[in-house]
C-alpha cells in the first residue's frame, strides 16, 4: 500500500488539493455454507499536492451500503385485547445493509446541507414517499432501530482511524444475515464540514458453491426444486425406517 501510494505521488499532480487513495482488504465477499459473518477492512491515504495549505478540520467518512429494497414497516396496536398490526408504511428505498464510519461524530465533520445532498446519515439513506400515516418518521426510526439490532445498520462514530492526517483505516463488521448484491463503499473527505473529495467503489457479496446453486434453482426452477426437496424428504424417511429395522434384528 505504501508503495502504491509512493507511485501515485510520483505521478502528475491532479487539480484537487487533497485526494483519496484507497485499498480494500478484499475484492468480494463469498457467502459459503459456514458463513458466520465477515468484515470489510477499508484503508487508504490522503494525497496532497503540497502547494495549497488545507484549512479546517479533517474528516473521513466511510459508508458501506447493501442493495436497496423496498420494505414495509408495520405497527401493532391493541384491538379487543390482543395486539394486531394496524398501520403500515411502505419505505420505497432502504438499503439492506448500511454502515457509517467516521473519524469523529458525523455532525462535527459534515454540515446538515451536505448530509441532505449526499444522503450519508442513516436517516437520509432511507426514503419513503407518499406515507399516508401520521408520524411517518416514527416508522423509519423503527426500521433503523430493528435493523441496528440485527447488526445491519451500524453507526461507528469513531470507527475511522486517521494517522498523521494522511493514513486512514476502518473495519466494518458484516453480520451473517447479509443480502446478496453489490455493496457500495463510499469514502468522503471533508475539510471544515465541506466535502472535498469522494471515492466510490463496489464490493460484490455473493453466495458461492452449493448455496449459489440451491438459491438459483429455487428461483429459476421452483417446480424442480420442490420435487427435489420432496425426494430428499421421502428418501430420508425411508432410510431411517430401513436403518431401524436392521438395528432391531
Amino acid at each position: 500500500m505504501i508503495r502504491l501510494l509512493a507511485c501515485l505521488l510520483l505521478l502528475a499532480l491532479p487539480a484537487k488539493a487533497e485526494e483519496i487513495v484507497l485499498g480494500l482488504s478484499r475484492d468480494e465477499v463469498a457467502i459459503t455454507a459456514t458463513f458466520e459473518g465477515s468484515e470489510f477492512l477499508i484503508f487508504g491515504a490522503i494525497k496532497r499536492d503540497g502547494r495549497s495549505e488545507a484549512e479546517g478540520d479533517l474528516g473521513v467518512i466511510v459508508t458501506v451500503a447493501g442493495p436497496d429494497e423496498p420494505v414495509v414497516v408495520r405497527k401493532k396496536d391493541r384491538r379487543l385485547g390482543i395486539w394486531v398490526n394496524t398501520d403500515a408504511v411502505e419505505v420505497d428505498v432502504a438499503p439492506t445493509f448500511y454502515a457509517v464510519a467516521t473519524n469523529r461524530p458525523l455532525q462535527e465533520i459534515l454540515t446538515f446541507t451536505e448530509d441532505l445532498n449526499t444522503r450519508i446519515s442513516t436517516q437520509r439513506a432511507i426514503r419513503s414517499v407518499g406515507a399516508t400515516v401520521d408520524n411517518a418518521e416514527r416508522f423509519t426510526q423503527a426500521l433503523i432501530r430493528i435493523r441496528a439490532r440485527q447488526g445491519l445498520y451500524q453507526r461507528l462514530p469513531t470507527g475511522v482511524l486517521v494517522e498523521e492526517e494522511t493514513l486512514f483505516r476502518t473495519l466494518i463488521p458484516l453480520p451473517a444475515n447479509l443480502t446478496e448484491g453489490d455493496y457500495r463503499a463510499e469514502i468522503y473527505l471533508t475539510r471544515g464540514k465541506q466535502i472535498v473529495d469522494v471515492y466510490t467503489t463496489t464490493i460484490p457479496v455473493k453466495k458461492v458453491g452449493l448455496e449459489r446453486w440451491l438459491y438459483n434453482l429455487a428461483h429459476d426452477q421452483p417446480f424442480l426444486y420442490g420435487l427435489m426437496s420432496l425426494a430428499i424428504a421421502i428418501f430420508s424417511g425411508w432410510a431411517a425406517a430401513a436403518a431401524f429395522t436392521v438395528f432391531r434384528r
Binding site: 459459503t32 455454507a33 459456514t34 458463513f35 458466520e36 459473518g37 429494497e69 423496498p70 420494505v71 414495509v72 414497516v73 408495520r74 405497527k75 401493532k76 396496536d77 391493541r78 385485547g81 390482543i82 395486539w83 394486531v84 398490526n85 403500515a88 411502505e90 419505505v91 420505497d92 416508522f139 423503527a142 426500521l143 432501530r145 430493528i146 435493523r147 451473517a176 444475515n177 447479509l178 443480502t179 453466495k207 452449493l210 448455496e211 449459489r212 440451491l214 438459491y215 429455487a218 428461483h219 421452483p222 417446480f223 426444486y225 420442490g226 420435487l227 426437496s229 420432496l230 430428499i232 424428504a233 421421502i234 430420508s236 424417511g237 425411508w238 432410510a239 431411517a240 425406517a241 431401524f244
Partner: protein
Amino acid sequence: MQIYLPIAEVSVNAFLLLGLGGIVGVLSGMFGVGGGFLMTPLLFFIGIPPAVAVATEANQIVASSFSGVLAHLKRKTVDLRMGTVLLIGGLVGSALGILLFNYLKSLGQVELLVQLCYVVFLGMIGTLMFIESLNAIRNANKAGGRAVPKRRKHNWVHNLPFKMKFRVSGLYISVIPPLMVGVLVGVLAAIMGVGGGFIMVPAMIYLLGMPTKVVVGTSLFQIIFVTAFTTMLHATTNYTVDVVLAVLLLVGGVIGAQIGTRIGVKMKAEQLRILLAIMVLAVCGKLAFDLLITPSELYSLGTGGHS
C-alpha cells in the same frame, strides 16, 4: 457449528437444528402428529423468517410422516381407504389455505392469523382431549381393570348420505365428514406449517369413531401427501422452502420418529392422549400469552412490493 441457510439467508447452529428435529421427531412418532405445531414456533424463536419456517416445516413433515407410516404399514394399522378420502379433502383445503395465506400476507396479518389459529385450535382440542382421557383413566380404574371403550354410538354422522365401507376401521359411514375433516386439515397445513395431526387424530377418534389403533397410521398417511402438496405450492409461489434447513431438521426428525413410534406402542392409549393434551395446552398458553402482553417492539418489518 454455524451453517448458512441459502433461502432463509441466515446463519444458525447446525447442532441446534439437529437437536430440535430429534426431539420433535420423538413426539411425532409417539403421537402420530407431524410435530409441526411445536417446530414452527420454535423456528420463529431461533430467527428463521416465518414464511420460510412454515414452508420448510411442511417439507420436513413429509419425511417424518413417511418414516412413521412405514412402521405402521408393517403392523397393518393404516386404513388406506379412509386415508384416501381424507386426502382428497386435504388437497382441496391446502390449495384454499395457500390462497388465504398469500392474501393475508399482502395485508400484513398473516402472523396474527397463524397465532390465532394456534390458540383457538390447540386450546379447544387440548381441553377436550384432556377431559376425555382423564375420564377414561378414572373409569378404567373404577372398573378395576381394562375397560373396553365402546364408542360406536350412533350420532348425526351416521345419518348422512354417500355411505362407504371402511373395513380396516370397521366403519360404515358417509364420506362427507372425513372429507370435511380433510379440508380443514389441509387449510391448517398451508397456513400454519403443520401436518394437522393434532386436529385430525381427535377428529377421527371422536367424530368418525375410528379405533385408536388405526388412527395414528392413517393420519400419517394423509399428512404425507397433504404436506408434500403444500411444499410444492410454497416452493412454486413463494420460493420459501429452504432445503438445507429441511435436511438438518429431518435428519434429526426421522431418527426421532422411529424411536417415538416404538415408545408409543408400549404406552396405553389414555396415557398417550393425556400427554398429548398437556403438550397442546402448553403451546396454546404460550401463544395466547404472547398475543395479550404488550410486545417489546411494536413495529415489525415485512418485505416490500405491492400486493
